[in-house]
Symmetry: C2
Subunit: 424 residues, 2 copies
């Protein structure tokens, strides 16, 4: 399309050269054409904003394949995605792809945070293009994302959240659309940063605000990654790792010195971004099961899963406070859950969630053993952390709920037998 427009301009120039006498009207026409090209969102080349999401199946409906999720019985009300705001911290190899996925899904509002600029050295990951080298990552992201979907409200912050001023702006932006001091104006925060310090800052902000967030990471050798759900008070926070574990003293700057750098692959980062946003969609649109923790070992295509309970001795006071509130609200929560279950049970009698689709296509009926057999795996350390003392399992862990502890023991024993067999 663009090439076509440039071709038309080229022909106009030829006409101008041959007939310099009526140059004024030709020049005006070319001016208009150029202006339209400079503002593609307003031009015919790009698409205009769309007021309501339509499920109509026509070639020019960008939402038809998403609204089809309702007809397929996967999502109850897809259009609710327009009501949600998601903040993405770190617009690198994972964050930029996560932002593009949410943009193409038609998320209501995206808040983007990064302090870096685009370099050619980033070109081995998806999203940024060579002609964006030198732009801030946030500016480049807004340029690309607004062209893809003008319906999404984009807010970008080119700042370092680990500085005092940066942290203040970060907190204020999360709270901006909230009327309540203790809640935020966003529905989910996705952490896509590449260092320990920034993760601790996101953790601090989310603990203070009681904000649910998801963490993601990719290993320095580029072949492993993970995502994790963090609900202040309910799950382990990023500082809840056993107190016997200390940071190994990795300095982010050492990874950037001349002659040394971490490896990265567009594949690993694309998979981690996909798993992250898929779980974000499940969380926001209320379908499937949100993974508490999911690892990705690409060398073996192995995906460890586990759950992490909060640590009552967590070093983060805001986390301990959220844990206390969570315990106190248990009776109210139980009552609400019971009421919801009863309501759903009566609703399901009227309309089953999974109906046969009309093309007679059967979806593979996966059994659950792959993930559930490893739910009981002990703590996996966050990246950048190593154990300096014996394994945390040798020490007292927070007590497991009484009802499941007997099962856990049996599972562990079975797991050991399974491991021994696999090793043989």
């Amino acid at each position: 399309m663009e090439k076509e427009q440039l071709g038309t301009l080229l022909r106009d120039l030829d006409a101008l050269k041959q007939h310099p006498d009526d140059h004024a009207s030709t020049i005006d026409r070319m001016r208009e054409r150029l202006a339209a090209m400079m503002n593609p969102a307003a031009g015919a080349a790009s698409r205009s904003k769309i007021k309501d999401m339509s499920a109509e199946v026509v070639d020019n409906n960008p939402y038809s394949r998403l609204m089809a999720l309702q007809r397929m019985g996967v999502v109850e009300n897809y259009e609710r995605i327009r009501d949600y705001s998601v903040a993405i911290v770190g617009i690198g190899g994972v964050g930029s792809v996560a932002a593009e996925m949410l943009t193409r899904c038609g998320i209501g509002r995206l808040l983007l945070y990064d302090y870096d600029t685009v370099e050619l050295a980033n070109m081995n990951r998806l999203f940024f293009r060579p002609e964006q080298v030198g732009m801030t990552k946030t500016d480049a992201a807004v340029q690309t994302l607004s062209g893809i979907n003008p319906d999404v409200v984009l807010e970008s912050y080119s700042l370092n959240i680990t500085t005092v001023k940066g942290f203040e702006t970060f907190l204020a932006s999360l709270k901006a659309r909230s009327s309540d001091e203790r809640s935020t104006g966003v529905d989910l925060v996705l952490s896509c940063v590449d260092n320990y310090e920034a993760r601790m800052v996101v953790n601090q902000a989310c603990n203070e605000l009681g904000q649910t967030w998801m963490e993601s990471g990719v290993s320095e050798d580029a072949v492993s990654g993970h995502i994790q759900l963090l609900v202040p008070g309910e799950t382990a926070c990023f500082a809840c790792a056993p107190p016997l574990v200390v940071a190994s003293g990795v300095d982010e700057r050492t990874l950037k010195r001349e002659g040394v750098c971490a490896a990265s692959l567009p594949t690993t980062m694309g998979v981690v971004a996909g798993l992250l946003v898929q779980n974000a969609l499940k969380y926001l649109l209320n379908f499937g099961q949100v993974s508490p923790y999911l690892g990705y070992n690409s060398l073996k295509d192995y995906f460890p899963a586990m759950e992490m309970r909060p640590n009552p001795q967590c070093s983060n006071p805001a986390c301990v406070q959220r844990q206390k509130e969570y315990m106190e609200s248990k009776p109210a929560r139980d009552a609400a859950a019971k009421a919801k279950m009863e309501a759903e049970a009566s609703a399901e009698n009227e309309c089953p969630v999974h109906v046969d689709n009309e093309w007679n296509i059967s979806v593979v009926d996966d059994d659950e053993t792959g993930t559930s057999s490893i739910r009981n795996t002990p703590y996996i350390l966050p990246e950048g952390l190593v154990r300096e003392l014996p394994d945390a399992d040798s020490y007292a862990e927070p007590a497991a709920p009484a009802s499941s502890s007997a099962i856990d023991d049996d599972l562990e024993e079975l797991q050991r037998q399974l491991d021994a067999l696999n090793a043989s």
Copy 2:
């Protein structure tokens, strides 16, 4: 950058209007500028070609993070990627992202096949942009990919491989750089098509040519997907599914009729593309383990794995012929494998593959139970197929290798116990 170029053109036009006398030189300057914009790979805005991949860590080296895979001990010789050719059939939600990943990884040559044009209805998946609506998918892909990495040789074919003429061109293009009638000029074929008929055509071509390929797919409800490795004669081909399984008669065109369409998500497709290309990289660059089959169930974040042996009664004669050749070449293969193992064993004594890295970062030590415990899962049917008779397990399966069957039985028994406990 592009906006800047357009702005310069606008200023040129203003100058032209004010000083129509020296129009000739202004017009020539504008012509040059337009020509450069129409061919961005050659322009200053984009990067120029790079002769040798460098591991130097500077901001303007697009390969530094990939060459770092060597220093990390993951890949022995990353630059070999430039020697490889990969064909991608179907440039849709999975194929386009796979093409971008391989392009950013610096693959030597990419062959792209699709007959479709870009529509706004494709915008809920990664890669294509609204301003490309109306272009053929192959043209749009070449436009984007050549801008990202001019080092990759791109060949595109806008054709339907399921037509007689399309199939001939497809076969000829795969063989083009080969001197031998029975081998091809490509190292791997990735099937990213969305229908049964096209998969059978790729299967036919690869069986005829003895070409290793990988198949990928995403379910019509957008929440599941899979990848599969197919080595003619050695693994099951796409037609090897038990003869008791027949196509359910899904007509690709029914998915496109007015008012009805399959759902799709950028997340599921991004994950499948990432898993596919990651396994392609493992296969080409010889690291990690290539998955014979890997499923992705996004609702539960469950990843079933399995292996499928070829069916001696396969309906595809070329498959049966490749199976025969594979059996006949077994003694030679065993001897070669033994020699290779011995060579590697002596090389490893000199230089261990996994050395400690200098930042004291420890990679999570994943255990293997997640995937290996389900290697023994029975056949999962390809998409679009349903069993019309009882499950294939009730019938004789090809015998498992004798050495592992005892272990398999024990694993199955343990798995059953584990399932029972998890269900309780």
